[in-house]
């Protein structure tokens, strides 16, 4: 069970010159097995919120519970995928996929088997012996996903995982993320800067306010996950609704460009 419930979370960074209040009173309620997209202006604290849920950051106020347990450090079945994938350049594809299991001291035969299965699922079986620098951006992202799958993660926290990819690869991976979620029904939190991506992958879209960040509005998106959603009127309407919300917040540049 991986429901997420955060109350009045505040995080202050102690910077070199001054302190930065990154989050102030953020609340978050995610049901087990939900897929949530988080969107908001740059610097509003999205990454910070994710790190707090992952147990990698001490909160200065409030509390975070995952699966009913208070978070005090990294949790066994929470997987974090970062902007630049967080792969280790000195480990091969197989070693990267096995890393979580190795850190948790699973026996090597089990590691092999689970990593092989996960790599198969993301289509990287042929590339097990390569290093990340020998992979394309899309393949690296698949590898980061394989690592989470090998761990049998029930909570997947993703920080702009697809932002570095070109448009075609990006759609390809969005489809992979969607099909993984439809298969496994893990709890998924996706931070993104793309309105279309948020609507395509978020059953609920959370819009954050400018820093110090809070959850500003919650947009339900019941069409998410239906076949061919990307081409429907409902999809476009939802994107427009979200765009309006962000514009009202001043999160979009004049002219309605990217965040």
């Amino acid at each position: 069970m991986a429901s997420v419930s955060a109350h009045a979370v505040g995080v202050t960074y102690h910077g070199v010159d001054s302190d930065v209040v990154a989050l102030a009173g953020a609340d978050l309620e995610l049901a087990d097995g939900s897929s949530v997209a988080v969107i908001g202006p740059s610097g509003c604290g999205k990454s910070t919120l994710l790190l707090a849920v992952a147990g990698l950051l001490a909160t200065s106020t409030g509390s975070v519970d995952v699966g009913g347990e208070p978070v005090s450090g990294p949790r066994l079945r929470t997987s974090l995928i970062l902007q630049d994938f967080g792969l280790l350049p000195w480990k091969t594809v197989r070693e990267n996929a096995e890393l979580g299991l190795r850190i948790r001291r699973h026996p090597s035969s089990e590691r092999r088997a689970r990593a092989a299965e996960a790599l198969e699922r993301v289509g990287l079986t042929e590339f097990v012996g390569l290093y990340p620098s020998e992979l394309s951006g899309g393949m690296r992202q698949r590898l980061a996903l394989a690592r989470a799958l090998a761990l049998d993660a029930d909570l997947l926290l993703m920080d702009e995982p697809l932002s570095a990819l070109d448009a075609l690869t990006r759609e390809d991976l969005q489809d992979l993320l969607l099909s993984l979620w439809l298969d496994r029904r893990h709890t998924s939190v996706l931070v993104t800067h793309s309105i279309e991506e948020a609507v395509y992958l978020g059953g609920t879209v959370l819009v954050m306010t400018p820093r110090p960040g809070r959850i500003g509005s919650i947009v339900e998106n019941p069409g998410m996950g239906t076949p061919g959603y990307r081409q429907t009127e409902a999809f476009y309407a939802k994107c427009a609704e979200l765009r309006g919300l962000l514009e009202a917040e001043g999160a979009l540049h004049p002219g309605g460009g990217a965040l």
Binding site: L56, L82, L88
Partner: protein, 250 residues
């Protein structure tokens, strides 16, 4: 083409160029202190039985000293690079001492440890230690936060972060320091052996110089050069084995 073959061809080419320049210089200077390559190589062959044990002493000293410098310097540097508290205490101490030329301490070491292996090894180890310490510390500091975060998110403890991220992340730079250190080490070896030894190539070269045996002297110089090249190649080989990912994706 295989890398080692390419390397071998590179070496052969470089040696050919060197021989030509050397031959020309020797003909131009026409001094007994710079024999022609052919004469010098003849000397190496002739002096081989005498030269070999000195080569052995020098090689042993420099290798032992570099291993000590590495084994002490690398872990300490990595630790200082990752631990703010440790760095706060030890950092100033190191940076006060780093710019001091260690070679001037040879007389002190000679008094403390006596003439011979111990002081020579100690001096070289000290120099290599500082070079590796400073490099390892900087390398550990510049390890990307994302690498550390992603491994920590997998539940890694401090030791696992160290072995999975810090050590491999800093390894290429430590190898670079080791390579630069090898050059310094051989130079210091020469210097200290010529002062504090009755064995070793440094002693051999200076002894021959004192006896105006320029042929022998040159044989010793060539042996010293060979020692440097072998050391460098050994480090290069170790790096290619331990840092395989560096050659990937180029």
């Amino acid at each position: 083409m295989r890398t080692w073959l390419r390397r071998a061809i590179g070496y052969v080419g470089a040696i050919a160029v060197m021989l030509v320049v050397w031959e020309a210089a020797s003909l131009l200077l026409h001094s007994p202190a710079l024999p022609t390559p052919a004469d010098a190589l003849m000397q190496v062959v002739e002096q081989f039985p005498l030269l070999a044990p000195h080569f052995g002493y020098s090689a042993l000293r420099v290798v032992v000293a570099m291993v000590i410098g590495l084994v002490v310097g690398a872990p300490l540097g990595l630790w200082l690079g990752r631990s703010k508290a440790a760095d706060l205490v030890a950092g100033p101490l190191i940076f006060l001492n780093y710019p001091v030329p260690k070679a001037v301490f040879l007389p002190v070491l000679l008094v403390l440890l006596g003439i011979g292996n111990a002081s020579i090894i100690a001096l070289i180890a000290l120099i290599v230690f500082f070079q590796i310490l400073v490099t390892a510390r900087d390398a550990a500091r510049s390890i990307p936060a994302a690498s550390v975060l992603s491994v920590r998110s997998l539940g890694a403890n401090a030791w696992q972060v160290f072995t999975n991220v810090t050590v491999p992340g800093a390894m290429p730079e430590i190898f670079t320091a080791l390579r630069i250190g090898a050059g310094t080490a051989v130079a210091v070896l020469f210097f200290s052996e010529s002062i504090a030894g009755s064995t070793g190539l440094g002693y051999f070269v200076f002894d021959a110089w004192g006896r105006v045996r320029y042929g022998e002297m040159f044989a010793g110089i060539l042996a010293m050069a060979l020692l440097g090249v072998l050391l460098y190649e050994a480090i290069e080989f170790a790096e290619s084995r331990l840092c395989r990912w560096e050659r990937a994706g180029r």
